[in-house]
Symmetry: C3
């Protein structure tokens, strides 16, 4: 559960700081915690941002709810509201302030004595280096960064100001992170791309001489793997958000402000545009290009370039297993099924074969 503030804050103080219109006017309950509608109690501030939460809105015991004018009627009449244009974004700003207040006991800047920091590394002001960190020669860490315990920044790595690298992260030599990045535990940045030449049935390694370049304001989740480029760099644009367990292969380029959900795999040299959203577990084959503003649904496989913005899917529908087995059997025999339909059409009305059948694309 979210922790409570050490001392309550007046709702009015929050509204003065973050905006919004309080209804009924003048209401000013003390707020000690943030909570979801369903479990909120007296003293909690909650929010209603999506129609799907309407159900839990009616009976909430929150002392106040951040809501849009549109969804406001879903709340009981006597509930105090803070009416705003974008409840989720507004709640996010409030929550960041709560987090900041509660982090009063956060670790202070400084270098843990157990860390191994090269004298040839450059650390900015206000930097925190956690226990057992390894900071090698030529590393540059910007002001106000926090590097978690057991994290390794290899030779020549650069981290921009105010970035947070959590515990147990491995960054290989010469890779670059921008400013205000967040990297979660277990993530590996700059491992060798999967590059081999096949000779006489054996694989010989192609050295991976590029690096990884990560822009500003990028967040990368836990246990991701982002490979260095073969000759050029693997590039992740400003503002991208990657969830957990994501694979980014060598030479991939991802445009600004794209978001990849958990377990996505992107193969070598794929290019993803700006503001794309890739659903969880989706796969993107190599050497193809996805334009800006494309949405790919969860667990779809992108097998060719996409040049039109839009929402794309490719998933076999879930069904009871017995039914799946029957459908799967027929799917295997679809070419025959189509041929039978054509024959019938001709028998019934000598219809010409529908040439569109030959089009593999939509």
């Amino acid at each position: 559960m979210a922790r409570s503030l050490p001392h309550p804050v007046a709702l009015r103080a929050l509204v003065e700081r973050f905006g919004g219109v309080v209804q009924p006017e003048g209401a000013d309950p003390p707020i000690v915690r943030l909570a979801p509608l369903a479990s909120a109690r007296s003293g909690d501030l909650s929010f209603l941002a999506a129609p799907r939460h309407r159900a839990s809105a009616g009976g909430t015991h929150a002392s106040a709810v951040i809501v849009s004018a549109e969804l406001s009627p879903a709340l009981a009449p006597d509930v105090v509201r803070v009416v705003v244009d974008d409840p989720l974004a507004h709640f996010g700003r409030v929550a960041r302030w709560f987090e900041h207040v509660m982090e009063g006991d956060a670790p202070q800047p400084g270098i843990d004595p157990s860390a191994s920091v090269s004298p040839r590394a450059v650390l900015g002001a206000g930097v925190r280096i956690g226990a057992h960190c390894v900071i090698e020669d030529g590393v540059v860490v910007g002001d106000d960064c926090s590097i978690g315990a057991h994290t390794t920044l290899a030779r020549g790595v650069r981290v921009g100001a105010a970035s947070v690298v959590h515990a147990n992260v491995s960054v290989y030599r010469d890779c670059t992170l921008g400013a205000r990045c967040i990297v979660h535990s277990g993530t590996v940045i700059g491992s060798d791309g999967f590059g081999f030449a096949r000779e006489h049935g054996r694989w010989s390694k192609i050295p991976q001489l590029g690096t990884v370049v990560i822009g500003d304001d990028v967040e990368i989740g836990a246990n991701c793997a982002i490979d260095r480029g073969a000759l050029e760099d693997t590039v992740i644009g400003d503002g991208c958000k990657l969830d957990n367990l994501i694979q980014i292969a060598h030479n991939v380029r991802i445009g600004e402000h794209s978001a990849l959900a958990g377990c996505v795999g992107v193969a070598g040299s794929a290019v993803i545009g700006r503001r794309c959203m890739i659903g969880g577990g989706a796969g993107i084959l190599g050497h193809l290009e996805i334009c800006d503003d494309v949405v790919v649904s969860a667990m779809s496989l992108v097998t060719r370039s996409i040049s039109e913005p839009g929402f794309y899917s490719g998933v076999f529908p879930l069904m009871p297993n017995a039914r799946w087995e029957r459908s799967a059997t027929i799917v295997r025999r679809l070419p025959e099924l189509r041929d039978r339909v054509r024959t019938l059409e001709q028998a019934v009305r000598g219809a010409p074969m529908d040439s569109s059948d030959e089009q593999g694309e939509d």
Copy 2:
């Protein structure tokens, strides 16, 4: 290969300890090792628990075999059997005893001098803290726990008694593990959920203020990522077993005794019931609910709530690639194919359109 015991043990001693009926009566071969039927030699104890292993059963050279009365005939007449109700569970108990005997050389309790342990952490009796561990302020580790090398327990983490956290695990602040849990290397518990608000095409972070609460007797495999909740907690019930490389997003709740195979991804706020089994690589979308006793086959995507116990699948059948290409082309044009069938029906017998076609659900 499984190692051998330092000294042989009499089969009778194992039967006295763990039960079962020896056939032929009085047979008492010395046992030094556990081995599968196919590779077992004299001195080995094996087991036959699944019909699919019948084939290798006939010719086994094991000195004794744990088997059910039902499968016993699959063994050669002269093979010594230990007949039990549940051969696999029985074998598991025997194997745990073997493991215990062989672990005589296991590391002793105590704190490795290279570990960084906060004076404000509380360690129970018989606790082992491995090399270079980081145990921060306010951590509580129960009696008889073993914490592997390089593992980080951040501020306020609690680990129940007799739990084993292997090397290189990262547990973020305030997360809780129950008693007798096992967590394998590389796993991350409590990383931030994937929560962002989109404003003007950019993402702003929603702080993740909840934690992760893991019940008793939970095992979590290697390189999993379990995110903390946004406001409430991510909850994994007692007795759950998670394999490797599993993604659990924020606010997910998993009921008691469910098992998730490798590479499963569960999206935010999904609820999974008790005793469910989720096949490897399956995906579960967010904000849906799966009832108790549901089995989902490997690599299926659960796109809506499931309210009936049962076995569900959604996977495109594997076929030679040339055939797949033909089938895939037709799958893209299925709506047209169905329309052609309807037209034919009407031409042949003016049949009314089968309204069931309009039902998307089963």
Copy 3:
């Protein structure tokens, strides 16, 4: 970007070392860097190995290009070529030499003072042990190995000569790596297999007493998980290449020189042959066997044994989401659709039902 050599090298010197025919004869530009065709500048050596890069070949500014006689015409007439049989393999050899020259500043052999190395471990000549490594009792590390920071080699682990284990790798007790292996950060080798017996709706653990045996010349990417066997060993054959985030379950056996792309999951006791190639995100179910020389396309699920070499696929085709929804609805109702076609056939020409419909297999 790939770094430049400290000093230029004459193209002729590279040709003398690695072979190839320079055209025009006698051309000998100085080379300082390796670069792809599209971004190459004067002083860069590039290569053209795949027809798909023809487009960028025509306008390259590289000082020289490694190319086959067949693709040579794709380059502008005045570009200096090094004509070879296998441009990719040839380029790989040149790149390894570049890498070697540039690694002049690589870390020297020796044991970092912050490492925890058991006096009962055996380290070969020229071994490098990184900061904070943990090398437990009975470990044997061959000559010229490099073990990265924070890596843990548990009791009894053996690593063959000239292997490179990068930072933050966890190898559980008694596992074995061959010679000249490369293991990338975050990978876990030897974690417990997912073995449980179900009793009365609860899971009891089956100890995993086997180990992991990895052959020579194996490369394993970042954040993989390779479980130890239950009784026998999990085996990865000589020359296998595994990409990132791959799951290998207990008792799996992979034949020599097979390659698995990122995010592949292989379930327990599966056997994969020699020289197989498994596409990214593919899944292989347990207790089945894939013969030599099989190629499985990305994100396919192998649900049964494959006994014929060849290329297999099982992926639902990607389409615009609206169209996918219509197709998915019909896929669920395919058994009805097939029945309607049969009825029509009989109505039209009393055709006998196509018995091939009953064949689930191809």
